[in-house]
C-alpha cells in the first residue's frame, strides 16, 4: 500500500505544481516581493508605519477612495490615544442619523463611534468626479486582490512609460502590475507628497510601503490576536497530540 501511496502522491504533487494561475499567459511580470512586518506566523503590524500610512491615506487617497469598514475608534489600535482619535474624528463633518425637528438631515462633527466618511455621497458622484471610473473602497483592498500587499505595493510603484508598441486608451495610465496594464487612476504618489511627523523621508516606495501596511491592517485588524491565539492553540494541540499518542500506544500495547 505505501508504494502505491508514494507513486500517487508524486503524481498529484506534479499536477499541483503545474501553474495554477491564469492560463492566459500574459506577460505579467512577477510581483516584487516586499518585506512586511506582518508577514509570517509571528508577524505584527509596525505601528509607526501604519500611522504614516494612515496619514498617506488621509492626505492623498481619501480624496477619491472611501474606507467604509473603518471606524474612527479603530484607530486606537494603531497607537493613537482616545483624545487624538476624538480630535481626528471631530475634524470630519458627517450627516446626523436622525433628521432635525424640521425634517432636515443636518451635519455634525464625527464621533469615534462613527465610520470614517468617504469622499463621495454615492457611486454616481464618485464616477462623475473620476471620468466614469469608480475608485474602489480600500478597507478590504489588500484581501480583495491576488497578491495582496505585494500587489498593492507593486501597483502604487509600478507606473512607467508604456512600451513602444503598446496601444494606450485615452485617459488611462500604464501600470506594470495592473491586469491589462491600463489603469484609470493617475499615479497617486510623488516624492514628498506628504510630510511625515516622525521625519521619515517621504519617498514613493516609503509612502507605498506605509500605506500598504495601513491598508493591510484595515483589511485584517485582528491579525495579531489571531496569530497570538493561534500560537497558544497550536502549542496546546502539539502537547495534546503527544499525550494522546502515548495513551493510545499504552492502551493498544496489550492488543498486539
Amino acid at each position: 500500500m505505501p508504494k502505491h501511496l508514494l507513486a500517487a502522491a508524486a503524481l498529484i504533487a506534479a499536477i499541483c505544481a503545474a501553474p495554477l494561475t491564469s492560463g492566459v499567459a500574459e506577460e505579467m511580470p512577477p510581483l516584487p516581493r516586499q518585506e512586511w512586518s506582518f508577514f509570517g506566523i509571528f508577524g505584527t503590524y509596525d505601528r509607526a508605519a501604519a500611522q504614516r500610512g494612515f496619514q498617506v491615506y488621509k492626505e492623498v487617497c481619501s480624496a477619491c477612495h472611501p474606507v467604509k469598514h473603518l471606524y474612527f475608534r479603530d484607530l486606537t489600535d494603531l497607537g493613537y490615544t482616545e483624545d487624538e482619535v476624538k480630535a481626528i474624528a471631530a475634524s470630519y463633518q458627517v450627516n446626523n442619523e436622525e433628521a432635525n425637528d424640521q425634517g432636515q438631515i443636518y451635519q455634525r462633527p464625527a464621533r469615534p463611534s462613527d465610520p470614517i466618511p468617504g469622499p463621495f455621497p454615492n457611486n454616481q458622484a464618485a464616477r462623475a468626479a473620476n471620468n466614469g471610473a469608480l475608485p474602489p473602497d480600500l478597507s478590504m483592498i489588500v484581501k480583495a486582490r491576488e497578491g495582496g500587499p505585494d500587489y498593492v505595493f507593486g501597483l502604487l510603484t509600478g507606473y512607467k512609460e508604456p512600451p513602444a508598441d503598446f496601444k494606450m486608451l485615452t485617459g488611462m495610465y500604464y501600470n506594470e502590475y495592473f491586469p491589462g496594464h491600463q489603469i484609470a487612476m493617475p499615479p497617486p504618489l510623488n516624492d514628498g507628497a506628504v510630510t511625515f511627523a516622525d521625519g521619515t523621508p517621504a519617498t514613493v516606495p516609503q509612502m507605498a510601503h506605509d500605506v500598504v501596511t495601513f491598508l493591510t491592517w484595515a483589511a485584517e485588524p485582528n491579525l495579531e490576536p489571531r496569530h497570538r491565539t493561534g500560537f497558544k492553540v497550536m502549542l496546546f494541540l502539539v502537547i495534546a497530540v503527544g499525550i494522546f499518542y502515548a495513551t493510545k500506544r499504552k492502551i493498544w500495547a496489550t492488543a498486539h
Binding site: S22, K143, N222, F231, M234, A240, I251
Partner: protein, 422 residues
Amino acid sequence: MADIPSPGAGGRIIRWIDYRLPFVGMLQHELYEYPTPRNLSYWWNFGSLAGIMLVVMIVTGIVLAMQYTPHADLAFDSVERIMRDVNFGWMLRYAHMNGASMFFAIVYIHLFRGLYYGSYKQPRELLWILGVVILVLMIATAFMGYVLPWGQMSYWAATVITNLFSAIPWIGQSIVTLLWGGFTVGNPTLNRFYALHYLLPFVILAVVLLHLIALHRFGSNNPLGIDMKGPQDSLPFHPYFTIKDLFGLSVFLLIYAFFVFYAPNFLGSSDNSIPANPMQTPNHIVPEWYLLPYYAILRSVPNKLLGVIMAFGSIFLLFIVPWLDTSPVRSARFRPIYKWVFWLLVIDVVALGWVGANPPEGLVVTVGQIATLYYFVHFLILFPVIGKVERPRPLPVSIGTAVLEPSRRTPLGGAGAPIAKP
C-alpha cells in the same frame, strides 16, 4: 459487562431513565462494547472526524447566524462586522469557512477509503448510499453557504450554478426563475438560500444517524475486507478506538488550526472580499476547491445540457457503485489490478480539480476532456470489467490470524506474499 455503571444516587437516576428510555444501555453497547475489527488502520478515523466536523459546522454556524443579516444590502457588511467587532467573530467565521474545506477533505478521503477497501459491497450497499446522500446534501449546503457573504464570487457562483437548470428542456428557464424568486439572483434568492442553509445541516444530521444505524448493523469493514468471525477478530470500541479517534482528532485539529489561525484565506478566493456587483463579472469565476472536479466536468462537455447531466451524473454515479463493481473480493489489498487502477481515479479527480481551477483554454481543455472521459470509463467500464477479469489474491483465514499469526493462509488459491501490516 452489560451493567449500567452506577455509583450511588446518580446511578439510580440513570437506571430510572434507562428503564423508560433505554438510551444509556444503547450507548453502552454502541459506543463502549461495540465490537470493532481489531485491524482497522488510520483510514478508519475519518468517519468520526466527519461527524465531529458536522457538529463544529453546526455550532459555529448557529453562533454566526446570530450576528449575520441575510439581506442583499446588508449581508456583506454584517460579515465584516462579525470579523471586526464581534468578540472572537473572526475566529468563528474563519472556523466555519475553513471548517467547510476540512469537512469536504475528510469526507472525500472517507469516500475513497470506501472505494479502495470495498466498504460499499454487500451487505453495506445502503450504508454507502446513505453516505452519498450525505455528500449531495453537503454540496448543496456548501454551495448555498458560499452565497451568504454576498461577495463577488458568492453572487456569480450563484448565478452560474442556478443558470445550469435552464438547460432543462422547455421548463428550464421557469425553474430558474422559481429558484431565483426574481429575474436575476437577488435578495429573494439570498433569503431562501439562508433558510435552506440553516435547515439542511439538520437533515444531514438525520441522515448521519441513519448512516450510523446502517453501519452498526454489520459493523465496520476493515483493511482485509473479510468479515469478523468472532471475538478474536475484534476489540471493544472503548477504549481502543475512542483513544485512537481522539489521537486522530488532535492531529487533524493541528491542521485545521493552522488554516484557521495562519492561512485562513488560502483556500478561498480574493474576489469574495469584493462586495457583489451585478453589473460586473469577475475575470475567472471559480468555485471552492471541493467543487472543482464537478465544475471541470461541466465545462468539459461542449453541449450545455449534456454538461449539466454529466456533472450531476458524476455524483449520482456514486449511488450505483455497489452494483457496478463485480469483484468477489472487497479489499483492494487482494485485487492486483484494481489496486493500481484505484490510484488512476485519484489522479483523475485531482486533475479534474486542476482543470476546474483554470480558465478553459489550451491544455486545460484537453486534460479536462480526457479526465472527464476517464472518470466515467473508470466507473462504468473498468469497475465491472476488472472485477470479472482479475484473479484476486488468496484471502487470509480470519482477521485474528492475519493480525496475530501472519503465517497462516487460506488453503484455497496459490502462494501469495505474506500479509504485512503497513
